[in-house]
Subunit: 286 residues, 4 copies
C-alpha cells in the first residue's frame, strides 16, 4: 500500500499512456542548452555561487572566480524564501539587475529562484534559468506559470517529497508546454541531526530509470555543512548526476544566509579537480 | 544543535521582543469569530464537509446535514491542489458561487483553500475563512497576500514542517496586519505506512504553550482512514484542540478525492456526540 | 508497494490462517491479570514510577505515593539500556531485590526491563511483568526467551518500527506459548525536534482494529517533556488506551536518567484525576 | 536542542577525554586484518555473498565465483533475524559449518551475523568476523559480549539510529577491549517509498571526520533494489567508503530472503570493474 496520493494517476502510468517525464528507453535522454553547452549530455556541469546576492561587487567578484574555475552557471538568490519574515529577504529586483550584468560580463548563465508567479515576465528579462525552490515544489500555481515560460526550469525536490511526487511536480511544468526541466536532488528531511538534510543518493539512479530529464545534485543543502560538500559531490557524480549546484562564498562566516554550508573559491577549485577525476571514471568529462 | 533554519531568528525570541504569535501568559488567548460563535474560546467547533465541492446539489445537501448535526463551518475545496496535473482540479470559481449560496441558505461559515495570491479579492466576495493548504505552508508570497486580507486564515501545518516553522509561517500572516490565524495540525509524514500521515498529538500542547492562536485538528488527513477518525478526534479534543476539521461525504467510495478518509453523515453525528462527552470531561462544551 | 520485510508473511494474513495476535471479531479482547485487577478490560490502569531505581529509599517512598494516588503497577529500571557505555547502567540485581520488597509492602505489581535472555529465571523470582524496551523490540533471541516465561510481557514499540513490525514482534512472544503480551505505544522517531519523540496516537485505533492484545501508552517517552505529559495522557485514553506508563520522580532535576520527562507525584495525582474524567467520557473507569 | 539521549555523555566529548572511537588527527586511522589484506587502508574491499546460506552447494559455488571476481570476504546468514517468526530463520549451526568449509577451500574470510550473546564461543570456532545486525545495534548485552571476543566486529547502523548513537554503539564494543570494529552504513528509514531504505551517503564523511574506525557501505540494504546497487556502490566509494558489503545470488528470484536486492555474479564482476575505476579516481586501489 502506498499511502500517498496516487490513485487518480494510475491510468497515466500504463505503457500506452506514459507521463511526459517518462523515459521510453535507455537512449531517451533530454539535453537542455545552458550557456554554450548542455546539461544532460556527456559533460558534468557546475552551477555555483552564493546563497544570496548580497551586493553588486560581491556577485561580480565571485562570478569571475567561478567562471575561471570552471562553472557554467552562476546561482544567487535575489528573492529569498526565509522561514522567518524577519530574516533577510533578498535585494529583489535590484539583485536581478546585478545578475544580468554578471551574465553580460562573464558569459555565465544565470539561475535564480522565483517565488511569485506574476514575476515570470520580469525574470525572463534578466535570467537564463528559473529555479523553483524546495518549499514551492508543490506550489502548483507557480509550476503552471513557469510551465508557460520559454526558459528552462531548475526544479528542486521538496524536503519531504517522494520521488514520485517530485516527478509529478515536473509533469506540471511539462504539461504546460515547457519541455526543459532540470531536476535537482537536494537532500530530504530525516531524523538524523548530524547534517541539515540527508542527501538521497538513491534518488539519482531511481530518477535516471524513470525519466529522461537531466538530474543535478545540491550537496550544499544536501549536507548543510561545508566540510562534507566535497565527499558528497564526488558521490553524486559517481552515481550519475549530470551536474552540481554548489554554494560558494568568499567569506562564509559573514554570509547573510547559509554560511555553514558554503565553501570558499579555493575549495571550489579543488572540487572541480576532484570531480574531473570522477567524471572520467564514469566515462564523462567536465 | 538544531539543523533547520533558525539562526537569523534568535534575536526575535527574547522576552523583550517576542514574536506576534507568542503567548505572553496563561490567559493570553486569541478568539476569532466564526459564524455566530468564536474559535479559541470554551466551545469546541466543527468544520466539516467534503474534500471537493463536486456539484451544487452535493454541497447543498451535505451542508444541511452538517448544520443540523452541529457544524459551525462548511469546508469544501473549490480549487484543489493535486499531486498530478491530470487529477480533478476542482470546479474553481463556480464552486465558490455554490459555497456562497450554501452560506446564505444555511448560515454555515465557509472555509476553502486558496492557492493563487491574485485570487484573494475573488475569495473575499464568497467565503469566510481562507485556508492555506499543507503544500503552501511556506509559500511566502501567498502568506503575505492573505496577511493583507480582512478574513481569518486557517493555516495547515506542512507535511514535514517543524512546529517552529509552522509558527513562523503564521508569523508571516500576522506580520502583514491580519491577526486572525487558526492553526491546524493535520498529521506529519513519517515512515509509518499503516496510516497516510502520523497525527502529531504532541503538537497540541506544544502549540498551546507557545502561542495564543487557536488550534484545530484534522483527523481525516491525520489518519487518512475513516475507521480511525473518531478515535483520533476524541484524542485531539482531550489533548486540548479548539475544534475539528473533518471530511464528510455521502458516498465516500464515489468521492472525487480523499474518499478513503471521509466519514459519512451518520458517523459525523456519532462523532459530535462523542466529542460532546470529551469536551465536558475537559471543562468545555460544543 | 510496501518497502519493509513482509513478503514471507503474506500467507499468514489470510482469514483462514490469522496470526496469534489477530482480532477475530469485535468482542475478541485479551485481558491480563495485573495485581488484583486486569489490563485490557473496562478499567484504565496506571503503571508509574521513576526511570531508574536509584536507591532502596527512593523506590520505597515513591511507591507508597503512587499506590495512594491510584497506580496498579510500579515501573522502575534495574538494568538500564543506555546509549553510552559510560552512562549510569542501573543498580541491577540489587535493584530487583528492592523492587521485590516494594511489592511485598505496597501490593503494587512490579514491571521492569529485561535485556539479557539468560536472566529470565532471575527476573521471575522478583517481578510481575517483564518489559522489553524499544531498542530490543526486534531482539528475537530475547523475545523467544520471554515467550517461554509464565510472566506477562510489556512490549514497547521500537523507535522506528511500523505497527506491522510491532505486531510481528508480539507474535514472536505469543508463538513461544506466552499469551500475555501488553503492547505499549511510546512515540516514534520523526524530524520534529520540539519533542523527543512523536507520540503516534493513530497507533491506538490501528492496533485496536488488528489485535486483541491490550494497548497502553507511554506519554513520558512519547513527548520527552513533563509539560506535555498530561495533555497527551488525556488524548491517549480518549483514543482508547487501556492504561498509561508514566515516569514519576520526586525531584526530576536530580534524576539519574530521563529527568526532563518525569512528572512529580502531585502532578501524577492531577493526571489520575483528569484521566478519571476522560475514562468516564469513554464509558470506562479507573 | 538535541532531543536524543546525550546529556550524560557531554563530559566524554572534550578533547582531553575523547571516546575510544574518536579520531585524534587526520592520520589517525585504524586498519583491521581481513584475510591477507586489511580494511581501512588504501584498498577498497568487497564483502559479498547471499543474504542467507541456503545449502552447502549454493554457498560453495557462489564463494568460488566471488573469490575469482575479487571478493576478500564472504557474507552469508546462518542465523537470520526475520520480522516474522514464521519466515525462514536460517540453517543455523549447520550453515556455520558450511561457511567454515568455504573458508578452508577458498581462502575467503567469513562474516556472518550473530544474535545470541551465548553463541560467541561457537561463532569463534567457525568464522572470521562477527556481524551485528541493524536490529541489534543497541542490544547492549550482545555488544558487550562481542566486545570480549578477539574477532573483528562488523557493526551495522540501526535503521533509525543517528550517527552519534551508531558511534556510541561501537564504543560499547571498544570499551570491552575489542579494538576491531568496522562500521557499516546500510541506509536509514525515511518516508521515501521508491526504495527500501535511504542510503545515507552523508554518513561517510561525517564518520570519517569523527572516528578512526574503517567504514564500509551496504548498497543492497541501502537501496533494497538490485537495479540501484551499482550506482550507489560507485557513490559510496567515491565519497570515501573503505569497502562494500553486497548481496549476490545466482538466482535472486528464488532466494529465500532479500531476493529483490541481490545482484547476480556477472553483475558483481561489472561492479568490481566500475569500483576499480572509481577507486583510482580517489587515489585508492581494489
Amino acid at each position: 500500500m502506498n499511502n500517498y496520493e496516487t490513485r487518480d494517476n494510475v491510468a497515466k502510468t500504463t505503457a500506452q499512456s506514459p507521463y511526459l517525464f517518462s523515459r521510453k528507453d535507455e537512449n531517451h535522454q533530454t539535453t537542455i542548452p545552458i550557456g554554450n553547452t548542455v546539461v544532460g549530455g556527456d559533460k558534468v556541469l557546475f552551477f555555483a555561487g552564493p546563497c544570496s546576492v548580497e551586493s553588486r561587487q560581491q556577485i561580480m567578484d565571485i562570478a569571475y572566480e567561478l567562471k575561471e574555475a570552471g562553472a557554467t552557471a552562476l546561482r544567487g538568490g535575489a528573492f529569498k524564501p526565509r522561514t522567518s519574515p524577519y530574516s533577510f529577504q533578498g535585494h529583489e529586483e535590484k539583485a536581478l539587475e546585478w545578475l544580468c550584468e554578471v551574465r553580460e560580463k562573464t558569459g555565465l548563465a544565470i539561475v535564480t529562484e522565483i517565488m511569485d508567479p506574476q514575476l515570470v515576465p520580469v525574470f525572463e528579462q534578466y535570467v537564463d534559468i528559473l529555479q523553483i525552490g524546495s518549499r514551492n515544489m508543490q506550489n502548483f500555481v507557480l509550476l503552471k506559470a513557469v510551465g508557460k515560460s520559454k526558459l528552462p526550469v531548475l526544479l528542486k525536490r521538496g524536503m519531504s517529497s517522494t520521488i514520485h511526487e517530485f516527478l509529478l511536480a515536473a509533469e506540471y511544468v511539462l504539461s504546460q508546454g515547457n519541455p526543459n526541466v532540470i531536476l535537482c536532488e537536494r537532500g530530504i528531511r530525516t531524523f538524523e541531526n548530524a547534517t541539515r538534510n540527508t542527501f538521497d543518493i538513491n534518488a539519482i539512479p531511481v530518477l535516471r530509470e524513470k525519466t529522461h530529464l537531466p538530474i543535478i545534485a545540491d550537496p550544499s543543502h544536501g549536507t548543510g555543512n561545508a566540510k562534507y560538500v566535497l565527499a558528497v559531490s564526488r558521490g553524486a557524480v559517481a552515481a550519475g548526476a549530470d551536474g552540481l549546484l554548489v554554494e560558494v562564498h568568499f567569506s562564509p562566516d559573514d554570509a547573510l544566509s547559509d554560511g555553514d554550508q558554503s565553501i570558499q573559491p579555493q575549495e571550489f577549485r579543488l572540487l572541480v579537480e576532484q570531480i574531473n577525476s570522477i567524471a572520467h571514471a564514469v566515462n564523462r568529462t567536465i
